[in-house]
């Protein structure tokens, strides 16, 4: 159950990636992976399709970015601020959203995301509006200057590994099991005595904390908090990435982040119409590969081994 070999693969990826990919892109991949881990706690494990994760990511980025820029706070405080803002905004949104289910839940996460987006858009004196918030500094870590791209990559990669470990502990904990139970059958979970709305809220808060961390790291990556980081498209991107990787696995969002960032960076510089490919890929994944890369790979292996595809649902694993 510990997935030691999986960890080996990920460590290898972390170490080898900068050799193949521009450092800034590599860093972005891990940041997005942290973001995806947060979403997947809601989507894959609890069965809540949250279409507004950018609310937490963006809010954290703006608040931490603002403090970094105008108050020159140190890096540990910035990270803490990011996590807290992510968690608090998620608590707020989550509290409002978990009261509704299904269709209304999705529409509500969308509407609240739009509200935050348009507030950021109009509140130009604070957020810079459409121009974003540039000139965000990147303070040093315990005396180490992390301005060089490779140095920042190292810092972010370490934080990613830590986040992955934390998320693993969470999903294997009692909370993780309860969330999966809620996903399987909410009524039954309630009948078993669990406070379902409270558990969902917990999922939101944890997911929000991860999103917030990703947000601060993103702000410091390019030294700017762009308006898009709190927008609906960004929310959609992380859903897409997580789906593509496979929401049925802890590591799905990580793989999805690879695929998504790779697509958007390498293809975008070649063909301006790459969102078309994104849309097509999305449709194909939704129609044929709902388990994402993870499931496709599993199916491929089984086909190779001559067995039928394994059952997609396991009692003690995500779907």
């Amino acid at each position: 159950m510990s997935g030691g070999k999986a960890w080996l693969a990920i460590l290898a990826a972390v170490v080898l990636l900068p050799a193949f990919v521009r450092h800034a892109i590599a860093t972005e991949i891990w940041i997005f992976a942290i973001f995806g881990l947060g979403l997947n706690l809601l989507m894959g494990y609890t069965g809540l399709l949250s279409f507004g994760q950018a609310t937490f990511f963006g809010s954290a980025a703006y608040v931490a970015g603002y403090l970094l820029k105008y108050y020159g706070i140190d890096i540990f405080l910035a990270l803490a601020v990011g996590i807290v803002v992510g968690a608090v905004s998620a608590a707020l949104i989550g509290y409002l959203c978990v009261q509704r289910a299904g269709l209304y839940f999705i529409m509500l996460t969308f509407a609240l995301n739009q509200m935050f987006y348009f507030t950021a858009y109009q509140w130009t004196t604070v957020t810079g509006g459409e121009d974003g918030m540039p000139a965000i500094p990147r303070p040093s870590v315990l005396g180490f200057d992390i301005h060089p791209p490779l140095a920042y990559y190292t810092a972010v990669a370490l934080l990613f590994l830590a986040s992955l470990w934390v998320m693993k502990r969470i999903v294997e904990s009692p909370l993780g099991k309860i969330l999966q139970a809620i996903r399987e059958n909410e009524l039954r979970a309630e009948a078993l005595g669990y406070d379902v709305p409270r558990m969902k809220l917990a999922a939101f808060v944890v997911g929000g904390a991860f999103s917030g961390l990703a947000g601060v790291l993103y702000a410091m990556l390019f030294g700017i908090v762009p308006l898009e980081s709190i927008g609906f498209v960004f929310s959609g991107n992380v859903v897409f990435a997580t789906l593509i990787g496979g929401s049925g696995s802890l590591y799905g969002p990580v793989i999805g982040s690879f695929v998504f960032i790779w697509l958007s960076e390498s293809v975008a510089s070649v063909w301006a119409r790459w969102p078309l490919l994104l849309g097509v890929a999305f449709v194909i994944v939704v129609l044929f590969f709902r388990g994402g890369v993870v499931e496709a790979w599993a199916r491929f292996r089984s086909w190779r081994a001559g067995h039928r595809a394994p059952a997609a649902v396991h009692a003690d694993g995500p779907r």
């Binding site: 070999k5 693969a9 990919v21 521009r22 540039p134 700017i224 762009p226 301006a272 599993a298 292996r301």
Partner: protein
């Protein structure tokens, strides 16, 4: 874990890391090559201008045979997606991974401020053309230069010329895009207008990217103005002009587009909408200078239609940068910057001089009057240039107090 075994993940991870990444390897810029970045929009709100900006810069570089100071020029473009975030990323990557030291662009002024930060942080040369005073004003620094005329120059040219042609039009209504640039131009238009005894019967601000102009138009009409002057750009200007026409305000009441792209905006309207429109612009293709004539001829021969402000600006900025390299006899950024400061040439729009204190290019601004449908000699014959003006921003308004050091 689920049915996916650890071995699967290991294999998958290994495969991905080893095989999947077809990113170009980190490039080592050769010492004999000068990489130059054209930061244009190929997706997003300004995606229509990306390709023509690319043309303009390429033309200016090709005129020199893609060489400068004995070194080969490597021209690369990156899509800024008309977004500050993407522009920052791509510009930084271009500097870090491709060794770029010269950036021309972007097109959007909001995005430009973000790119200007990158230029300052990475210490690379940056030329921009667009509607923001800040590049040569409050956020000035040694690495960024502004090619478009100062909003003051624009306002003065527009107001002075229009008043001269229409002395009886005393009541003006303003429709202003609600951001820093709009406010600056509004301020200057009001100042210059007051010296002519103009009464500003109304001034409304609309959010950038507004699609629903009907409300503003009815407010304007209610004031019964002699003139409506819009201070906005791109799609906002086009949408506004269309609505003003739909509501029957124009052509009875003249409409001024104070800061326009010229061709790029006018082509999106119809001759009926354009009747009695007066347009201020940083470039129009009937400009009568030797450089402009050559450029327009070449462009038309190559691409079929006349160039608008966008390709002309890209062309113009690149030329100014190359002139600076000529003057410096070098391609090292600090020397080129010093050579650019105080550079004075007869170039695309006429006499052009770069103010060393603010990095603002002092040059003429154009004011045109659109033609009626039957006066047009062809589908692209939108307007005639009525006047040019080059009054620089008075020193007391200059927000750039100290341009700093390299």
């Amino acid at each position: 874990m689920s049915a996916l075994t650890r071995r699967d993940v290991l294999k998958l991870g290994g495969a991905a890391a080893a095989a999947g990444f077809t990113f170009p390897a980190v490039l080592r810029a050769q010492t004999k090559e000068i990489p130059m970045l054209g930061l244009w929009s190929f997706t997003g709100a300004f995606s229509d201008v990306g390709p023509v900006l690319d043309r303009g810069m390429k033309m200016a570089l090709e005129e020199r045979g893609m060489k400068i100071q004995g070194k080969a020029i490597k021209y690369i473009t990156r899509d800024d997606e008309t977004k500050a975030g993407s522009a920052t990323r791509r510009a930084e990557e271009a500097v870090d991974a491709d060794g770029v030291k010269y950036i021309i662009g972007p097109w959007s002024s909001g995005v430009a401020l973000a790119v200007s930060e990158v230029a300052k942080r990475k210490k690379v040369f940056h030329y921009f053309s667009g509607g923001t005073e800040d590049i040569s004003g409050a956020r000035c620094h040694r690495y960024s230069f502004q090619w478009a005329a100062s909003p003051y120059t624009a306002a003065k040219t527009v107001v002075d010329t229009f008043v001269q042609a229409n002395p009886k039009a005393k009541r003006w209504h303003l429709l202003v895009a609600d951001y820093a640039f709009g406010w600056s131009v509004e301020k200057y238009v009001k100042e210059v207008g007051k010296t002519h005894g103009i009464e500003f019967v109304g001034a409304d601000r609309h959010p950038l990217g507004e699609r629903e102009f009907s409300n503003y138009v009815t407010k304007a009409a209610a004031n019964k103005p002699d003139v409506v002057a819009m201070i906005n750009f791109g799609l906002d200007a086009v949408t506004g002009a269309r609505e003003i026409f739909n509501f029957g305000l124009t052509p009875k009441v003249p409409l001024i587009l104070t800061w326009s792209s010229g061709v790029e905006e006018l082509v999106q309207l119809n001759p009926e909408i354009r009747e009695n429109m007066w347009v201020g612009s940083n470039f129009y293709y009937t400009a009568d200078t030797p450089v402009a004539r050559e450029f327009v001829k070449s462009y038309q021969a190559k691409f079929g239609g006349p160039p608008g402000y966008a390709p002309a600006a890209a062309y113009g900025m690149t030329r100014m940068m190359l002139h600076a390299m000529d003057r410096a006899k070098s391609t090292e950024v600090p020397e080129v910057i010093k050579a650019c400061e105080g550079l004075e040439v007869d170039d695309l729009v006429g006499r052009m001089r770069v103010d060393p204190k603010t990095h603002q290019t002092l040059r003429p601004y154009f004011f045109m009057r659109c033609k009626k449908k039957d006066a047009m000699k062809g589908p692209m014959d939108f307007a005639d240039i009525v006047a040019t003006g080059s009054t620089p921003l008075p020193a007391e308004y200059a927000a750039c107090k100290d341009i700093g050091s390299l």
